[in-house]
């Protein structure tokens, strides 16, 4: 039976030594302390426990208190483990419950269906996310997040400061990229992405989905952007600390995305070996890679919170798989009719002959129209460039022949 070695040595770290609390249940020391802190609703008490343990200890304590953590995340380090449960953990903390009780409360809440925010083509979601505010949709969150810059302290260009404040305060910001550089190489976007990751907010609107910063590029480029943002933050943090460290000053405030091994070196005293190790870590790109992995992992989690799956096949990929040909419709007078045979987060494919499909982006739907599902029969009427979509739901046609 495949398992995982929680402890490789014969001596358990203190946080993993078993104990029994007043409720009579045996848990690890860390698990007992974490549950106690959650029940008290004390954030400082909880964070002290988490900071006192390594990634494995934190994962064990979280699992014992009802929060799930997968093994690959543990390998990314303590901050990745913490980010992966941050939202549920803080909700449990505010309610004074552990993860098991929180899950029960979510299950009860989801049995009352709540309509998703008023956006074209979004239908009420049936799973537990429906009961909570979806991260990234609230423009207020993103505004409050980025407003950390105090204009009173700014000594540069006052006009630029005003423009920046305008952007920060707006509910919706449309972004146009000039030139060919990919989004992941644009400083302003990296800044916004990095801030969003730190605060656990997905602030970008793409593929017709809502979000404060509306962009024309897609999910794959956004993942790259967030990966590179985390990389930039970690590498900058190390670079900024190097001069002081070399001069014998105490290093403080290294970013959490810097790998634990490098943090340990920089928080310790400078020596030739330590300096060589740090420089090697920077030059081989291992700091960047580690931080980038955390960035991708955390961003994937934020998208999952919106009901988006980065691994789901796009309609183009599905079309290739089935050998369908995506056609360009006659936008002046074309009339097309057929079942929906593929769906992704952005569009569906409507099959109007044996091997031909048309792409129907959800942005083309009328306000109030729900997104067509697999098997629904769709009628698309083009007239002088305008498109009218008619959807007939076919209950019981789940798994109809493609």
């Amino acid at each position: 039976m495949k398992g995982y070695n929680v402890s490789q040595s014969n001596r358990l770290p203190d946080s993993l030594i078993p104990g029994v609390a007043a409720d009579g249940i045996w848990r690890s020391a860390g698990g007992i302390a974490l549950r106690d802190a959650l029940k008290r609703g004390s954030a400082e008490s909880m964070m002290d426990v988490i900071r006192s343990m390594d990634a494995t200890g934190v994962a064990v304590a979280l699992r014992e208190t009802g929060f799930s953590v997968d093994q690959p995340t543990v390998a990314l380090g303590r901050s990745a483990v913490f980010s992966s449960v941050k939202n549920n953990l803080s909700e449990a903390l505010s309610l004074g419950v552990d993860g098991f009780e929180l899950a029960k409360m979510h299950a009860l809440a989801s049995s009352r269906t709540v309509a998703a925010p008023n956006v074209v083509g979004v239908e009420p979601m049936a799973h537990t996310f429906a009961a909570k505010e979806v991260a990234g949709v609230g423009a207020q969150d993103m505004t409050a997040v980025v407003l950390e810059f105090d204009p009173g302290e700014f000594v540069g260009d006052a006009d630029a400061a005003r423009v920046i404040q305008g952007v920060l305060r707006s509910e919706s910001v449309g972004i146009t990229c000039l030139g060919d550089a990919p989004p992941a190489r644009r400083g302003a976007l990296l800044l916004v992405a990095g801030q969003g990751l730190k605060k656990g907010i997905q602030g970008f609107g793409f593929d017709g989905l809502p979000g404060k910063y509306q962009v024309a590029f897609g999910m794959a480029e956004l993942v790259d952007l967030h990966r590179d943002a985390a990389q930039a933050v970690a590498v900058e943090s190390v670079s900024a600390s190097l001069t002081g460290w070399a001069a014998g000053k105490k290093v403080k405030g290294l970013d959490e995305w810097v790998p634990d091994s490098v943090q340990r070196l920089l928080y310790g005293s400078v020596s030739l070996e330590a300096a060589q190790a740090v420089v090697q870590a920077v030059e081989t790109g291992s700091i960047a890679r580690h931080a980038g992995q955390i960035g991708v992992h955390d961003f994937t989690g934020l998208l999952a919170g919106q009901g988006l799956d980065v691994k789901a096949k796009t309609v183009n990929e599905q079309a290739r798989e089935f050998g369908w040909s995506i056609q360009e419709p006659d936008r002046m007078r074309g009339q097309y009719f057929g079942p929906v045979v593929a769906v992704d987060h952005r569009a569906s494919l409507v099959k109007f002959t044996r091997m031909d499909v048309l792409e129907l982006p959800f942005t083309a739907l009328a306000s109030g129209q729900t997104r067509p599902k697999m098997g629904d029969v769709v009628r698309m009427d083009f007239k002088n460039g305008e498109l009218a979509v008619n959807i007939a739901s076919r209950p019981g046609r789940e798994g109809a022949a493609r």
Partner: protein, 85 residues
């Protein structure tokens, strides 16, 4: 000191507001009984929140049981041994 008087106590020190802070700390505490031991700790370390108490005797008995099962004298748990040992 006898086994039944020795306890592994896990606790956290509380701040002025009564909120437990810092890491969990293990203490080896000796007392006549678990109850008297708890009272004693409450007197000498009132700021300590006791999270867990495990008697050495329980841990020792567990260790003893494993060895007895291995020897064959206790058949309540199955024993499997990798060939070659």
């Amino acid at each position: 000191m006898r086994k039944e008087n020795v306890f592994l106590v896990m606790g956290r020190l509380c701040d002025a507001g009564g909120v437990p802070r810092d890491a969990v700390q293990n203490y080896v505490v000796c007392g006549a009984t678990e109850d008297s031991m708890r009272e004693f700790v409450g007197r000498v370390m009132p700021e300590l929140l006791i999270l867990s108490v495990v008697g050495l005797i329980a841990l020792d008995n567990l260790s003893g049981k494993i060895k007895t099962v291995l020897s064959g004298a206790d058949e309540s748990w199955p024993v499997l041994v990798e060939p070659g040992l």
